[in-house]
Amino acid sequence: MLINPNEILETIQMVRMEHLDIRTVTMGISLRDCSHPDIEVFNENIYEKITGRAKDLVRTTEEIQSLYGIPIINKRISVTPIAIAAESCTAPDFVSVAKTMDEAAKEAGVDFIGGFSALVHKGVTPGDLKLINSIPEALSCTEKVCSSINVATTKAGINMDAVGLMGNVIKRAAEMTADRDGIGCAKLVVFANAPEDNPFMAGAFHGIGEPECVINVGVSGPGVVNAALRELENPNLTEISETIKKTAFKITRMGEMVGREVSRRLGVEFGILDLSLAPTPAIGDSVAAILEAMGLERCGTHGTTAALALLNDAVKKGGAMASSSVGGLSGAFIPVSEDAGMIEAVEAGALSLEKLEAMTCVCSVGLDMIAVPGDTPASTLSAIIADEMAIGVINKKTTAVRIIPAPGKKVGDSVEFGGLLGLAPVMPVSKFSSEVFVKRGGRIPAPIQSLTN
């Protein structure tokens, strides 16, 4: 046969049994030409721009899905950070911009739209402040809009004023969506070293160094890696690494092929392929399950950080060979609520917030989709963010916090968001205060690692 039957069956098995899919095709759209002092004109401009650029995105993506027989789960849009595009608007807040983005996303038929964002790692402009203050209401009255704020970079240090502000914004976003378990916070990320070409939500935005319009792709394949590892007979860790590398190569090739074909058909530049293995709540499609396949009784026990480091590095090595346009976050994700194995590990008492923080030192992206008690003080949320930002800044990597102070919930409860966002058990936080530290404000200076010139 012209193509090896075993290879064909292997591919089919990956899709049928192991949940191989393309997590997202994300179209990045620049809104830099939409600026106007009148926010209504600005909103009209962005609506036209987004719906115009993305009008064939969903149809084309679906055609490619049936052509190749590989599921493409989400179609998404990312836009220029609104704080930049709307800076010249004289309106007191940007809530109407979020509503317009939501309408444009619905018209285009996409699942999410990201870019209700600001980059404030060194300081805050009036437009940034308007955007940040608009976030809680914007996320409570829209469905598809995602928001991200970059508060730290290795080059600039950590803007602790912004970190302090974000603790309050997260609290407020949870309160305003209390009837839906605080889902507003599931659409809000605080970043250090945010990538400009990330296709994954909630952190996607169209960076200022990006072209007019671009296609970025993210894959999902923990189930495939998990199955490949479980087939090995008593492997040592070198063999495990080799198997992950080969599997990551195959998964990434699929993403590369889909991304290039979508770009070609839409006549839009292909941006990047994100190597991250995004888990889903489906059983087995889990990063925790991979770590457990390596021999840990439960994800979160001693050895988890080492196992995750091995996984993340092997995924990158395999993926880098498979695509010439690697970008975005490109590492293993460990979102608690979106990964059935992580949820089980938390519920079994094996995985704590502190261990997750340690794990984020060796993988992308950070403390992701973590529910904490509703009465957690804003200053504690800010301090959790500050810790995570420090890890990113010092290690010259992206880190992020997406945390949900679940309204009215305490440790032992859980919050359910459904779909890809999954279910999050409420995890305990330290009962000791960080308030004085957070309130000091100012900037934690850029580390010595930033002086590379």
Binding site: M1, L2, N4, I8, S66, L67, Y68, G69, I70, M254
Partner: protein, 92 residues
């Protein structure tokens, strides 16, 4: 996408007439078989065909739908996927 060649896989429990009925649907869409292999693996019937579709006026969606419907009535799973998937994933 560089060709109009597709890999058609039929997976399910074996019974009389699977090949005949599946290929009849293919013929009605002028889809030609380039290569074919079939085995029984652990009691499961597995047929793989490399097939070539006409370059013009070929309605992939309608073909996939017809093949899927035929598969359902036979109690087997039929998939029609562009050959690039398999080349791209396993070959450099």
């Amino acid at each position: 996408m560089t060709s109009t060649r597709f890999i058609i896989t039929v997976i399910g429990s074996d019974r009389v007439g699977i090949v005949a009925r599946v290929t009849t649907v293919m013929a009605s869409f002028s889809v030609n078989i380039v290569d074919i292999s079939q085995t029984i693996m652990q009691g499961i019937f597995t047929m793989i065909m490399l097939a070539e579709a006409p370059e013009e006026n070929f309605d992939l969606a309608a073909f996939q739908k017809a093949m899927d419907a035929e598969g359902k009535s036979l109690g087997v799973e039929v998939k029609v996927q562009h050959e690039d998937v398999f080349r791209f994933m396993h070959r450099i």
